[in-house]
């Protein structure tokens, strides 16, 4: 137990703080769920990359800085302290990137990692289908081998970022006779390929944050498959672990929101209920607990450990914390909570709407509780 930063770590913090202070846009960007906001956020990714901040934990060969997880946490703390924009590149850098790092070939690493870290390629996820949501093993979209290609036919849905993204990654059934989680392969598909149709879906907030993707005999090289044929399920589970686990929702995001929530409370103290008062303190306490737990997990990984099903504990905690925090903000704002300003967004309202998706995406919290009960507590399936 050594809960002090080294001089080097402090110097790194100062370096990040100075860079963010000089580069974070002064005016908030539009939401990345709309077309204008998407492009603003892509431009920000390129600015980040110009300072080599795209993905600090990645090797320098792939546009990273080769830093350890404690420095990643410091980076994230300074990133959210500076109120920098949300990461439109997150599907790539937090999910597909680590997957390719672990399972990809040298060619796949060379082709995809650097453009990901530099914000040049934005990735969408393609997991769910109309009849395969929480039950992801019910996937029916097929990828049939034809020479050196796969020919993909089927439909994906709830595909985050797909409305504006360049590529998607997901699971397809390469063995049409197979059932459930056998016979699935993990394949990368460019969204501008012939036969791909993207139909944006309006989300709760009115913007096309996700989309349906239709595949009509889409031909992609077999070299776009990650890992062996029929190994897709295991690869996807690893990706899901990255998503629920350490990186997708860094604690700094919630600590920054908790700080803004305290400020909102102070502005509305006269009309706040005792319950909202208590919820504000609880939000701070839980954001701190999440941060401490992340430091603990990062230290464990740096010492050679790993996280498995514990990632599900994380996902339950941050998603329910985020919802509670924004619910409290809505309560503090009272009648003003519904107002949309003439320019920009009502940040708490947008955040509340987004927080409602947290307990659903990346595997619903009901699925996460099953995983905790079965794999951590050992209850029967």
């Amino acid at each position: 137990m050594e809960l002090r930063y080294t001089d080097d770590q402090q110097a790194f913090r100062a370096e990040v703080r100075a860079w963010m202070g000089a580069h974070v846009p002064r005016e908030p960007l539009r939401t990345l769920e709309c077309e204008e906001g998407f492009h603003q956020h892509v431009a920000w990714e390129k600015t980040l990359a110009s300072g080599d901040w795209g993905m600090v934990t990645w090797p320098e060969d792939y546009g990273g800085r080769g830093l350890d997880l404690i420095r990643w946490l410091i980076f994230e703390e300074e990133y959210y302290r500076a109120d920098a924009p949300l990461r439109v590149a997150q599907n790539g850098i937090f999910l597909l990137g680590p997957t390719i790092m672990e399972y990809g070939t040298a060619e796949q690493k060379a082709a995809h990692l650097t453009p990901m870290a530099k914000g040049e390629t934005i990735w969408a996820q393609a997991w769910s289908e109309p009849n395969a949501g929480s039950d992801m093993a019910a996937i029916r979209s097929t990828a049939i081998r034809d020479g050196n290609d796969y020919v993909i036919t089927g439909q994906k849905t709830w595909s985050s970022r797909a409305a504006f993204a360049d590529w998607c990654f997901g699971l397809f059934r390469t063995d049409p006779e197979s059932e459930r989680h056998r016979g699935l392969s993990f394949i990368l598909v460019p969204l501008d390929a012939e036969g791909v149709t993207v139909r944006p879906i309006r989300q709760l907030h009115g913007h096309p944050g996700f989309a349906e993707i239709f595949f009509d005999e889409v031909r992609v090289p077999a070299a776009n498959r990650i890992a062996d044929e029929s190994e897709g399920w295991n690869v996807a589970m690893a990706t899901a672990g990255f998503e629920r686990g350490l990186m997708l929702r860094s604690p700094a995001r919630f600590q920054a929101a908790a700080k803004r929530l305290v400020e909102l409370y102070r502005e509305n103290e006269a009309s706040a209920s005792p319950a909202a008062h208590e919820a504000v303190v609880q939000a701070w306490a839980d954001a701190e607990a999440y941060a401490l737990n992340t430091y603990s997990v990062a230290s464990k990984i740096m010492a050679g450990g790993s996280i498995g099903s514990e990632a599900s504990l994380n996902k339950i905690f941050w998603s329910e914390l985020d919802r509670a925090m924004h619910r409290t903000a809505m309560s503090l704002m009272g009648a003003a909570a519904e107002l949309q300003p003439e320019s920009g967004e009502n940040r708490w309202l947008e955040g509340y709407i987004f927080s409602l998706s947290g307990p659903i995406y990346a595997g619903s919290n009901e699925i996460q509780r099953n995983i905790v009960a079965e794999r951590l507590l050992g209850l029967p399936r």
């Binding site: 990062a298 010492a303 504990l313 009901e366 099953n370 209850l379």
Partner: protein, 330 residues
């Protein structure tokens, strides 16, 4: 920055847990019911070095810090060991060290003296009957005789108050160790309820196959997981006398209280009518959790301390403020 215990500390914890699993299991608790004491494990805990855990090496101890101490307190809570060991070795000893009162430390490390604690925030004194000394704000006094009281916890003895003043120094140490014991109790109650759910069959299958059961237990597991690191930070902050240490202790007590109360209510629900009997072992931990939840500052008291810090503006907030450092404090 390393938020991780050393392998040596892990090994000590493993040893203590395995000893207590054998020597202080449910049969022992049933045997001790109504006549609590040290459970006959005092001498063994002394020989494991626990009474000297926090005492400096030149006084015959191991010289460990409070973080290691809280981990031991978690194990003692998990095994529901009576409090003389916690009060003497994990609260009184570090309090005396912090005050520079070193003359009894070697005796404590050697297991030769037991200390009960007095503080106006919980004026009823636990385990006074076996104590040689009573620790209050002015240091050690000979243990007085006061009237024995009844408590809901059959493994805890409680005595009438004495007139004594109290400061936050003792309260912080004791609240930290109470939180640690509650997390131990939480872990044990989760284990008991999980084991019961695997064993008990209804509708032709173990009830643990039902999602209604699984999800409740998973929620307890989440509470426990995210309370632990709060406890470790509080222990380190208090050890290093950091400016925000008292608030971190209060956060730990809040998190541990909420986890323990949820674990207790969930565990009794999952045990069904059996949980409402005196026959299953669950009630021992549940009642200890109730006792510790109110002791050394209840939920409201510790909440108010966090509230004053967070909303009252006593501390800087934000993502760079997780740990105190010169840079953050600048």
């Amino acid at each position: 920055m390393q938020f991780l215990f050393s392998e040596d500390q892990d090994a000590l914890i493993e040893g203590v847990r395995s000893f207590l699993d054998g020597a202080h299991g449910p049969e022992k608790l049933r045997a001790l019911d109504g006549t609590p004491g040290d459970g006959g494990v005092w001498d063994a805990l002394v020989s494991l070095g626990l009474t000297g855990l926090l005492v400096p090496e030149d006084q015959g101890g191991l010289g460990s810090g409070l973080a290691a101490g809280t981990r031991i307190a978690v194990e003692l809570g998990r095994a529901n060991v009576g409090q003389p060991i916690v009060d003497t070795a994990l609260i009184a000893a570090p309090w005396l060290m912090r005050k520079g009162a070193t003359d009894r430390l070697a005796d404590i490390a050697g297991g030769g003296c037991r200390i009960a604690l007095a503080h106006p925030i919980n004026p009823w004194i636990a385990d006074l009957d076996g104590a040689d000394y009573l620790l209050g704000d002015d240091g050690l006094i000979d243990a007085p005789e006061t009237k024995a009281l009844n408590t809901v916890d059959p493994l805890r003895s409680l005595f009438a108050p004495v007139d004594i003043s109290g400061s936050d120094d003792l309260l912080d140490l004791a609240a930290l160790m109470s939180a640690a014991q509650m997390l131990g109790a939480t872990a044990r109650m989760l284990e008991l309820a999980t084991d019961y759910a695997k064993d008990r069959e209804q509708f032709g299958q173990p009830i643990g196959k039902f999602q209604a059961i699984k999800h409740q237990l998973a929620t307890v597991a989440v509470k426990l997981e995210f309370a632990r690191p709060v406890l470790w930070r509080a222990a380190v902050a208090l050890d290093e006398r950091q400016p925000r240490a008292s608030m971190h202790v209060s956060h730990a007590k809040l998190a541990a209280t909420d986890a323990a109360m949820l674990a207790a209510e969930t565990a009794i629900q999952i045990h069904g009518a059996m949980g409402y009997t005196y026959e299953v072992d669950l009630h021992f931990w549940m009642k200890r959790a109730w006792a510790l939840a109110g002791a050394w500052g209840d939920r409201a008291w510790h909440f108010n301390r966090c509230d004053a810090a967070v909303i009252g503006g006593q501390i800087a907030l934000g993502p760079d403020q997780t740990f105190e450092s010169e840079f953050n404090n600048a």
